[in-house]
């Protein structure tokens, strides 16, 4: 029996069309727009001005607080403006727009493709290196990685968990990365272990990626303390709390963090970025992005520079199919629908997903028949139907009492509802109201 998390979960059609497509380097765009807020926390402070010449890998915005991180130029060229540009959220966010000229990298970056296994960096320097390189959680949550590595006083990290689950349908970027850069991921894992001072790491991979599991298992024999575990295919196993429970059977307490049970979770993409930052001195300015969809000509996995307009990726994948009705940044379960193809690739962009018009729309909402499917699929043991009703009635004290803030917004409830009720929309609304109420209560 393969391991998995115990509560709820769904198994949507996997549709991993691009699984056999090797990672290709996307041609440089003519212009990039790099938002200064690509992570959870305070937006970075720009340190370049209009008309400045920048090199690839040069820092262009500095971390503005503990929960924040650096932003680097992904190209070489001239800063043409620092202005509000529409990005994947649909809002306009301050971005540094750079016109591309050549591709001149900062000299300190080691551009060779040689694998560098030996870890020479001091433990105490790793966290700063990761902050310098602007690394955030590349699974999509974009939480600054150095924060996760800074274990709070009184807590102790016992185990590092590397998330190679990629439970979102369609996406294959992590899968390809594990296959093609497996050894780098393992070295990155070792560095993360060193940073945390732990001797054990588990890489969790869902069993629909058997080749990646075998590959990493055979490689991991050389790496002490790293274990690779196959997991039963079940969404949302990539959720931190679900993955921890699946792998080491510990339940992160409500309102708590993984460190409360001695675990720290990082994505495989993050481990790879850490490898590049520490071993190659290369900051995070490019990432693997899956471009896929039901009618796209050439589903692909690209390595794309941050700031590249989404339109360029779609062009490289054979162009936008005529029937396109919706474009999602990320996976189909948790991704964001884009309102503009000019939106740039950011650190959190794991995929670009094109839905044909006939799959772009929601189905009509029908009355709740109290089938309790939402209750049975909720991985957090919540009652989505109830949270929706309570939010509709604006009974936010009850919404709070019913643990709405535990919701990880995986969307399993909305996905599974036979009456096509927008459960998660209302839960989000309820959560934001509850958060507001808690904030104002704490002020008093």
């Amino acid at each position: 029996m393969l391991k998995t998390f115990s509560k709820g979960g769904i198994h949507p059609p996997e549709n991993k069309f691009s699984v056999d497509k090797a990672i290709e380097v996307l041609p440089l765009p003519q212009k990039v727009s790099i938002p200064i807020a690509q992570h959870i926390g305070a937006p970075a402070t720009p340190v370049v001005n209009k008309n400045d010449e920048v090199k690839t890998g040069q820092i262009i915005a500095k971390s503005a607080g503990f929960v924040s991180t650096n932003i680097h130029s992904s190209v070489s060229g001239k800063v043409v403006k620092i202005d509000k540009i529409v990005e994947s959220s649909g809002y306009k966010k301050t971005s540094v727009v750079i016109e591309v000229k050549g591709d001149e990298w900062v000299e300190t970056i080691d551009r060779s493709l040689d694998l560098k296994k030996e870890i020479t960096i001091e433990q105490s320097d790793i966290i700063n290196k990761i902050l310098d390189a602007g690394i955030v959680g590349l699974g999509g949550a974009t939480f600054p990685s150095h924060v996760k590595l800074s274990v709070p006083k009184g807590k102790k990290a016992e185990i590092l968990i590397i998330n190679g689950v990629e439970c979102e349908p369609y996406l294959t970027s992590d899968h390809r990365l594990m296959l093609e850069k497996g050894e780098e991921v393992l070295v990155g894992t070792k560095i993360l272990m060193k940073a945390l001072g732990v001797t054990k790491a588990i890489i969790g991979i869902e069993n629909n990626k058997k080749d990646a599991i075998e590959h990493l298992i055979s490689l991991s024999k050389e790496y002490d303390g790293i274990e690779v575990n196959a997991l039963k295919v079940k969404y949302p196993q990539g959720g931190e709390k679900q993955l921890i429970q699946a792998l080491i059977n510990r339940e992160v307490p409500s309102g708590g963090l993984p460190i409360d049970v001695g675990a720290v979770v990082h994505n495989v993409g993050t481990a790879y970025a850490v490898y590049e930052a520490v071993q190659k001195n290369k900051p995070l300015f490019e990432r693997v992005v899956t471009v896929t969809g039901d009618s796209i000509q050439k589903t692909s996995n690209f390595i794309a520079r941050i700031g590249t307009p989404v339109s360029e990726l779609i062009e490289a994948a054979g162009g936008k199919p005529d029937d396109t009705g919706k474009i999602v940044s990320g996976g189909p379960m948790m991704g964001k629908a884009l309102n503009s193809l000019d939106a740039p690739v950011t650190k959190g962009t794991s995929g670009i997903l094109l839905f044909p018009e006939n799959k772009a729309h929601r189905k009509e909402t029908k009355p709740c028949i109290r089938c309790a499917k939402c209750v049975s699929v909720c991985p957090m043991g919540l009652e989505p139907f109830l949270l929706m009703t309570l939010t509709q009635k604006r009974l936010f004290d009850k919404v709070e009492k019913e643990n709405a803030l535990d919701c990880i917004e995986c969307g399993s409830c909305s996905y599974t509802c036979p009456a096509d009720r927008p459960l998660l929309d209302y839960i989000r609304l309820g959560k934001s109201n509850v958060s507001q109420i808690i904030r104002s209560r704490n002020k008093k």
Binding site: P253, A337, S340, M380, L382
Partner: protein, 336 residues
């Protein structure tokens, strides 16, 4: 970019499930029992089923169109299912006009007066059945004898259900096993369906096949059927062990009357059953206990319908007091 892009929050995909799919799933599961009813009760079974379904659809349509002036939802399959279940809960010789009245009560009072699908508190088919049972007690308890593949219209010889026979016999001071052997009903007859009873409840075998289908298709979960039948078995077993002469044995209880039909198809009605597994088990145990109490000590020989309706009334409170176990329920202790 000229094309319009759709913007909506995640998730962007949804499962291939719908209310009609669930309803038709239950209807498919009831087909074996339907064929058994035709096999034993012939054309009468067919006519009653047809009448009940057509009247349920018609009444729902008329009420939605002229009284509520709301969207017509007769295609969602739930009116068909209610009709089918009404037919399954009446004797094969029931006059059709009573079926029509029962359907009106089921749809009109049981379902639409609460606001339609999803809002009703009580199982509509059972509301209809209990209304008919109380209003037309004679017709509702005249059971034609099963006659295999007989499609003639001759007035059937009326028999009685095993439960009624036992109730009557025990009242007259006879002993349980004497009554059973005198009536000549074997347990295998009960299992196959060769006994007097409502159209859909007679064949334990057919109902179990449909139940397995429902479980496999994940339309129902095991909690309610198992807790209802398990409780009935244990509770009636305890009574039977205390006195084997005046109480029926547990297998008899499970195979007769509406036990299986009720436990698998009626108590599991999504709208009128609890939302959490814990609640569903309490609900099921309640139905099991009430059924045996009514059968053993009540005035009626059969109690499943009443038991379900009574427990339906407890569903809202069960939903409030039974919560699923939350992930990470133990709150973190605030550190010094």
């Amino acid at each position: 970019m000229s094309t319009q892009l759709t913007i909506s929050p995640s998730p962007h995909i949804s499962a291939d499930s719908s209310i009609p799919k669930l309803m038709y799933g239950v209807i498919i599961a009831l087909m074996p029992a339907f064929f058994v009813s035709i096999y034993f009760y012939g054309i009468g079974a067919l006519l009653i089923t047809f009448t009940a379904i057509v009247s349920c659809i018609l009444f729902e349509f008329l009420i939605q169109k002229y009284l509520l002036k709301s969207k017509i939802s007769i295609s969602d399959g739930s009116a068909i299912l209610t009709g089918l279940l009404i037919a399954f809960n009446v004797p094969g010789s029931l006059p059709l006009w009573i079926v029509v009245i029962g359907s009106l009560v089921a749809i009109g009072i049981g379902k639409m007066s609460f606001g339609g699908l999803g809002s009703n508190i009580f199982n509509p088919a059972l509301v209809g059945r209990v209304f008919m049972l109380i209003s037309f007690p004679v017709q509702m308890t005249s059971w034609p004898k099963p006659r295999i593949l007989d499609f003639s219209f001759t007035d059937a010889i009326t028999g009685a259900t095993p439960l009624a026979l036992v109730k009557e016999g025990l009242k007259n001071g006879e002993q349980f096993h004497d009554i059973i052997s005198k009536a000549g009903i074997s347990y295998s007859d009960m299992f196959i369906g060769n006994l007097g009873g409502s159209l859909g409840e007679i064949s334990a075998l057919a109902l179990l096949i449909g139940g397995i289908y429902l479980l496999m298709k994940k339309i129902i979960s095991w909690h309610i059927p198992v807790s209802v039948l398990g409780t009935m078995f244990v509770f009636s077993g305890i009574l039977w062990l205390t006195n084997k002469n005046i109480y029926a044995d547990p297998v008899f209880h499970l195979l007769t009357g509406g036990a299986l039909l009720g436990a698998i198809y009626m108590a599991t009605d999504m709208v009128t059953s609890p939302m959490t597994p814990k609640g569903q088990i309490i609900f099921g145990v309640g139905i099991g206990i009430l059924t045996i109490l009514i059968r053993a000590f009540g005035a009626y020989p059969e109690g499943v319908s009443f038991a379900i309706l009574i427990m339906n009334a407890f569903v809202p409170i069960l939903n409030i007091y039974t919560k699923p176990k939350r992930f990470g329920e133990i709150k973190i202790q605030s550190k010094e």
